[in-house]
Symmetry: C2
Subunit: 383 residues, 2 copies
C-alpha cells in the first residue's frame, strides 16, 4: 500500500537485517512533532526537542533494534551522528534531519551498522510501493503488520506510517509515527493540529505518546499543493491518526481482538477520555474480551476507579454496534442478555458503549485483548 509515498514530494527507503532496521524518508517542508512526556527521554528525543524549534526538515532517519535510551551524553552524540550520516546521504544539514529510535533500552547505537545500512539504501529512495513497504518494515519491532494510512481530500492528501505493537496498558510501549502531507500549512498551525490529532488518537490507544522513553510522531508538510482550509486539514489529520491508532491497537502484542471503548454522556471530553482509557487498560477487561466473557461488571468497576465523578446508578452499557448492539445495563438496571452479549464478542473487533447519562461529551479509546501470547513475547525480549 502507498500512503506516505502518495503524498507529493515524499520518497522513502528501508532495510531490515535481523532485528536491526533502518528507514530513510526524504521530504522537505514545514515540520512538527509530538514527543513522549516520560522524564526519562531517549537520546533522539532530547536531540529532537532542541532541533525541531526551527520547524523545517528535509528528511527523517529511523532505526529499530536499539532505543538509544538511557545512554547519557554519548547517546545524544550518537543520535547527532546518526542525523549527520543521513544528512550526508540526503545532501543537507544535520539540523534538518529528524531522528527516531526504537528497541532495547540501555544499549549504545552501532553507528557502523547505521552508516552501512544508510549507504546501502540511500540510492534506492523512491515514491513507489516497494520503497514505502521497505520503510514501513524497517521500523517494525514486535509488530506483525505494517501500518499505513492515507486520507485524500480534493486539494491535499495526508499519509502516514507508524510502528507500535500495542502494549498491555497505555503508556508502555514505543510508538513512532511519520506523517506527511502535501498541504501548505504554517509551523504553528501544524503543531496545534498534530497535538490535537495525537491526543484524540494515539494517546487513546493502548500505546500512547506520553510515556515510553522514545515515543515520537512527526508530521512534515511539503506544501506542494497549496494552502487548504486549516480546519479541514486538522480534521483530516485527526482522521489519519485515528486510522493508524486503530491499527496499532489491533496489532497489540499477542492480541486477537481490537477493543473500541466509546464513552458518551460525559460532562467533558476529558472525563470521557479518562474513563475510556482506564477501561481499555484494565487487564481484567482485556482478559474477559479474550475469553469472550461478557463480564460487564469489570467495565463498570474500571470506570469507577478512573478518578472521575459520575452517578453509577444511571449508567447504560451496550456491546456491539448499530442494530447488533446488545444492552447489558439500561440506566442502571441490569439486562440479562449474556448469551447474546457473548455472541457480540466473537468477532475481531469488540465495541463497548458506556453512557454516563450526565452530559453531552464523548471520547473513544482503543485497546486489545490480553493473551498468553503477550506474556510469551514480553517474557523474553532482551535475549
Amino acid at each position: 500500500m502507498q500512503s506516505i509515498c502518495a503524498v507529493e514530494g515524499v520518497t522513502a527507503a528501508g532495510i531490515k537485517e535481523g532485528k536491526f532496521g533502518l528507514a530513510l524518508i526524504r521530504a522537505s517542508g514545514t515540520a512538527a512533532a509530538v514527543c513522549t512526556r516520560n522524564i526519562v527521554q531517549a537520546a533522539p528525543i532530547q536531540l529532537m526537542q532542541r532541533q525541531l524549534a526551527s520547524g523545517v526538515l528535509d528528511g527523517i532517519v529511523v532505526n529499530s533494534g536499539c532505543a538509544n535510551a538511557y545512554t547519557g551524553e554519548r547517546g545524544v552524540a550518537d543520535a547527532a551522528a546518526m542525523a549527520a550520516i543521513a544528512a550526508e546521504a540526503l545532501g543537507t544539514d544535520p539540523s534538518r534531519i529528524g531522528v527516531a529510535s526504537t528497541g532495547v533500552i540501555g544499549r549504545y547505537l552501532d553507528l557502523d551498522r547505521i552508516r552501512g545500512q544508510c549507504a546501502r539504501i540511500a540510492g534506492s529512495l523512491a515514491a513507489d510501493e516497494a520503497a514505502e513497504t521497505a520503510a514501513a518494515r524497517a521500523i517494525m519491532t514486535t509488530d506483525l503488520t505494517e501500518k499505513h494510512a492515507l486520507v485524500r481530500r480534493e486539494d491535499f492528501s495526508i499519509g502516514g506510517i507508524v510502528k507500535g505493537s500495542g502494549m498491555i496498558a497505555p503508556n508502555m510501549g514505543t510508538m513512532l509515527g511519520f506523517l506527511y502531507t502535501d498541504a501548505e500549512i504554517s509551523a504553528p498551525e501544524l503543531r496545534a493540529a498534530l497535538a490535537t490529532a495525537c491526543r484524540r488518537s494515539f494517546n487513546r490507544v493502548v500505546v500512547d505518546g506520553d510515556t515510553s522513553t522514545n515515543d515520537i510522531v512527526f508530521c512534515t508538510a511539503t506544501g506542494r499543493r497549496g494552502r487548504p482550509d486549516p480546519a479541514a486539514f486538522a480534521r483530516a489529520l485527526e482522521e489519519c491518526c485515528i486510522v493508524l491508532a486503530r491499527q496499532i491497537a489491533a496489532d497489540g502484542e499477542g492480541a486477537t481482538k481490537l477493543i473500541e471503548m466509546r464513552v458518551t454522556g460525559a460532562a467533558s471530553e476529558e472525563d470521557a477520555e479518562t474513563i475510556a482509557r482506564t477501561i481499555v487498560e484494565s487487564p481484567l477487561v482485556k482478559t474477559a474480551v479474550y475469553g469472550m466473557d461478557p463480564n460487564w461488571g469489570r467495565i463498570v468497576a474500571a470506570a469507577g476507579r478512573a478518578g472521575v465523578l459520575f452517578n453509577p446508578a444511571i449508567l447504560t452499557l451496550a456491546i456491539g454496534e448499530g442494530s447488533d448492539a446488545v444492552l447489558l445495563v439500561d440506566r442502571g438496571a441490569i439486562v440479562a442478555a449474556l448469551d447474546r452479549a457473548k455472541a457480540a464478542m466473537s468477532g475481531k473487533k469488540v465495541v463497548f458503549t458506556l453512557d454516563l447519562g450526565s452530559g453531552g461529551a464523548s471520547a473513544t479509546a482503543w485497546g486489545c485483548d490480553l493473551t498468553e501470547k503477550y506474556v510469551e513475547i514480553n517474557g523474553k525480549y532482551t535475549t
Copy 2:
C-alpha cells in the same frame, strides 16, 4: 495456623460449597475499617459506611462467590438481611455486624443459601486451628493459599486473615482483610492506625484498597489484655498488614514470583510510593520477571512515567538483597552484569532497589510476575 483465633476473645467458623463460601467471626469490641475508594461501591460497602460510625462490632459475616455489587437498593437491603442473619446467629443486633462480599459483580445475593450456610456453621464457632482454617478458606476465590499473620508482643497480639489473589495491576481485584487484636484501643486511634497500616501495606501491593468495588479491611479490638503503647500498637498493626500484603502479592493470580520493589533516596515517601507502585504494576516489568530477563530499562522507563520529578542521570538500580545484590546501574552508569542479574531472578522472590539519589525518603511496593496462567484464569471467570 492460628492467627485471628490466637487473639483473646475471637472465635471463627466457615464453610465452602463449590465457589460459594461463608465465614462467621465472633469478636466484640472497638472496630474500624478502611473501604474502597471506587465510586462504584458494592452494597456491603455502602452498608458499612453508614454502620461503622458507631465504632463497635460483635461479629463479621463474609460471603464469597457473589460480590453483591452493582445491585442497587435491593443489594443494600440484601446486605442488611445478611447482617440480620448473622446477628440472629450471634445473638446481637444487626447494627453490630460487619458484612463483606467478594465474587462476580452484577448478581444478587442468594439469601437462602447464606441463611442455610450460617445455620450450619454458627454452632461450630471456635478458637481452634480447624475453625480458623475453615473461615480463611471460606473467603477465598481464586486464591491458592490461605493467608494468615500473627504479630505477638509481650502485652498484646494482632492476628489477621485476608483474601486477595493479586491482580495484574494495583486497584483491580477484591481484597478483604479481617484483623483482630486483644489490645484496648480507642476507635479514633484504631481508625488512624489502620489507615496508615493499610496505606503502607495493602495499598502498595498489586491488589489495593482504593479501587475494587468491594475492598474492605476491618480491625476489631477486643480489649481483653488492656491498653498498650499506642505507637507500639500502630507499628505492630503495620507489620501484620505487611506480612499479609506480601502473601497476597505472592499468591497473585498465575504468579510464580513475588516482586519486592524498594525505592530509596526520594524527596518524599509519597514520591517513593508512587514510583514503586508504578513499577510493580508495569506489565513489561512483570513479564520480564517471569522470563527472568534482566531488562532493567523497563524499570527505569516505568519510573520515568510515574509522574514524579527526579534526575534520571543519577539513578542507582540493584537486583537482589544484601551481599547477593547485583548492581545494574550505578549513579547513572550502566553496569554490565546481566548474567549475574539473571541468576538473581531465579528464586521465588525478586527484589529490586532503585535509589533516586535525591532525598532521604523511601517506600516499598509488592507485586508478582505476569504469566500465561493469569490470562487463563481471567479469560473465563464468570462462567
